[in-house]
């Protein structure tokens, strides 16, 4: 009989949900009662909506418990570990019986996330047991040449997962063919898109997958030095990366004659970002590594020819690197089995917004947005009406509900005007205002524009001003046309991806939700009731009990009415602060 394992998910999101307290509680109990079980940590399994998660593995099988706070932790240890009576009510996933939450896992194919949530990310042994560094072992044992490796990556059809979708193998060929005694590879972990956390989870959950991917890339391209550029907002990811690098050095996977290959000297270090969205753009990222302001440089010359410190450089993003070892290990054909004709393999999405099952999912390319939202995601919060999904963050766009059968692959998504992006998928319902959404993203890019190109610097500002005006009820006829014109100018005349894509959220919302813009401009109404200046608060005659709570709380004394009498809001005085709406206990304040 093996020892029972109790595993607590300690990713950033789990910790935010209280998993650390759960862990400490179990630890304290174990020490106090001298209990015989193995307590371990893992990272995010993707089921963020059920955090904190505790998995118990015993002789029978595995049980994943969801929503385990400190009290429930004591309960499951008591019942399951001591008395061997699993508490099925709390179980969200198990290999022994079906649960309602199985739909979250059923259609997922985990390649990049293969070990996330299953291993202790700070243990090299556990990673190795799951196959880490076996691809490098294969390369060494079978003496695979660089050409064979690159051909495998080409055959797999892997495309850049950072959003661009450029074929990874091709990128490697360019960098390999550049003549130089000094070359670099970079892992872009500057995940800046608001609403996206795929890379964070991957780095926190399985850092060795990324390291091995980079080692394979370095060997194939002929590189001595690798850099991981990680945003400073991810302290846990940086910590675990540094632990993993140290372990890999000790074990000889990094350093001189790395992985036992004579003459292959390669090492990696982590460079912390300093908070600039534009540094996710490859040339700006390299400027930042060199210690300059993170401003993009003109291309050509491309990084493959002249990159970091003026030397040939290959940049791929976290998810791309994590796919590479799997491809080498299992074979390109195996990878290309998944996906569509031009987009092979899987894609990780961060599923958030107004959705029941928010979390991290990895699905084969070609799955429809509808399936992702309604099958994996469990549908819309409070069963409200599904309005749109936003893909690709500030560079992407909105895809409306009626186009939910669009499949996720690079070309289908691009055809809608959105982009695949790095994988942030934010779900919106009837209570999300699309004009406000566009304004939100423009506000972001306007602040994050590095200021190098005039059109991006000034154009986004002018666009933001117009959008702000519209959401405040001061929109004018012709504003939509002006926005469109500015959008094309900004796209055409910006040097890097930030400016070239910044207008996308505006263009797609105008394309699919023009009626909402018109309602704001012409009728001075916000159909989703989000833009405060455009909301009218009125008392519902039938529901008002005359309790006077609204009148007492109104900061400008706009509400009149005697006790037990119908109240009335004076629209000339009302400042639309919404206090009455939140304070009313009888739902008697209506929004018009």
């Amino acid at each position: 009989m093996g020892k029972t394992k109790v595993i607590v998910g300690l990713g950033s999101c789990g910790i935010a949900a209280g998993a650390k307290k759960t862990y400490e509680k179990i630890q304290a109990l174990q020490t106090a009662e001298n209990l015989d079980f193995e307590l371990k940590q893992t990272s995010c399994i993707g089921m963020c909506y059920n955090e904190p998660l505790v998995e118990i593995i015993d002789d029978e099988g595995h049980y994943l418990y969801g929503g385990i706070d400190e009290d429930k932790a004591l309960e499951i240890i008591e019942k399951h570990v001591i008395q061997h009576e699993p508490l099925k009510d709390y179980v969200v996933h198990s290999d022994l019986f079906e649960t309602l939450d199985d739909v979250f896992f059923d259609d997922q194919v985990k390649i990049a996330l293969r070990n996330c949530g299953y291993i202790d990310p700070e243990s090299l042994e556990e990673a190795e047991a799951q196959g880490a560094y076996r691809a490098m072992g294969k390369i060494q044992k079978e003496k695979l040449t660089a050409d064979v490796i690159i051909q495998s990556v080409l055959d797999s059809g892997l495309r850049g997962r950072g959003g661009g979708g450029f074929p990874t193998g091709k990128k490697w060929v360019f960098a390999r063919n550049s003549e130089s005694d000094e070359k670099y590879i970079i892992c872009n972990a500057d995940e800046g898109d608001p609403g996206a956390f795929m890379d964070r989870s991957l780095l926190e959950g399985d850092p060795h997958a990324v390291l091995e991917g980079m080692i394979i890339g370095a060997y194939a391209i002929g590189v001595q030095q690798g850099v991981i550029y990680c945003r400073a907002e991810y302290p846990l990811a940086i910590k675990r990366l540094n632990i993993a690098i140290e372990q890999a050095r000790e074990k000889g996977y990094l350093g001189e004659n790395a992985c036992g290959i004579e003459g292959f000297n390669f090492d990696i270090y982590v460079k912390e970002g300093a908070g600039a969205f534009v540094c996710g753009e490859e040339t700006a990222l390299m400027a930042s590594v060199e210690g300059e302001r993170g401003m993009p440089r003109k291309r050509p010359p491309f990084p493959a020819v002249k990159g970091l410190w003026g030397k040939p450089t290959n940049i791929n993003n976290v998810e791309t690197w994590a796919n590479v070892p799997w491809i080498i290990r299992e074979g390109a054909q195996e990878y290309a089995k998944y996906g569509t004709e031009k987009s092979k393999g899987t894609k990780v999405f961060a599923l958030t917004g107004k959705i029941k099952h928010g979390g991290l999912v990895e699905v084969p390319m070609g799955m429809s947005i509808r399936d992702i939202v309604f099958k994996l995601g469990g549908g819309i919060l409070e069963d409200k009406a599904f309005k749109a999904v936003q893909l690709g963050g500030p560079s992407g766009g909105c895809i409306p509900a009626y186009m939910a059968d669009t499949i996720v692959d690079y070309d289908s998504v691009n055809a809608t005007g959105a982009i695949m992006g790095s994988g942030g998928l934010v779900v919106m319902d009837e209570t999300t205002c699309m004009v406000d959404m566009a304004r939100f993203f423009l506000d972001f890019t306007e602040k994050e524009s590095c200021g190098k190109c005039t059109f991006c610097r000034v154009g986004t500002k002018r666009m933001l001003e117009i959008l702000t005006r519209i959401t405040k009820g001061d929109g004018k006829e012709g504003d939509i046309e002006k926005l469109e014109e500015l959008a094309y100018q900004v796209k055409e005349n910006s040097l890097c991806g930030v400016g070239q894509t910044a207008p996308n959220p505006v263009l797609t919302t105008i394309k699919y939700f023009k009626d909402e813009y018109e309602a704001h401009i012409r009728d001075k109404k916000c159909p989703a009731k989000v833009c405060t200046e455009l909301i009218t608060y009125v008392v519902d005659d039938e529901k008002c009990t005359g309790c006077t709570v609204c009148a007492k709380n109104c900061p400008v004394d706009a509400i009149s009415g005697e006790r037990k009498q119908l109240h009335h809001i004076d629209q000339d005085v009302c400042i639309q602060c919404g206090v009455c709406y939140t304070k009313c206990n009888f739902d008697a304040i209506k929004l018009l």
Binding site: C13, A16, P194, A232, A276, G291, R293, G358, F444
Partner: protein
Amino acid sequence: MRISRIEQTKTFDVQNDEVDLSLLDPIIEKYKNKRGIMIPLLQSTQNLYGYLPKQAFPKLSKETGLDLSDMFGVASFYAQFRLSPVGKYIVKVCHGTACHVQGAKALTEVIEDSLKIKDGETTEDRLFTLESVACLGCCSLAPVIMINEETYGNLDGKGASKIIRNIRLEEKTK
């Protein structure tokens, strides 16, 4: 790390802030004569003082050979760097997409009210600094705030002001 970088309206007497510059020596020693040191050098300095004191610049420049104007250029470009002192607790309210959709704006307003400062400012007792950040990467727990290294998810206004109140109480009883 920014959404908005708002100028400090309440200015502290930064010039008279006692800053022990000798603390910088080991940092300078570590990075001297290497390339690409600008950002790590400034990051280490900020880790030391909580912000980049004006007095530190000439010393860093003189001893590492970095250009003063380049240093200021970098320090003012990246959102991470602060040029004025901050509170003991830095309250970062996430304004990522998911948090925005779930009401982050209202959360900032509540915290502004309970701290009696505006976004980007520091309380007079230098206990709290309020900041808006783009995304903390905990989107499924939106709306989220982070106080120093601690993250709090699934918040509403009440929850947020309770957390602030608790920290205040803790500080008072110390």
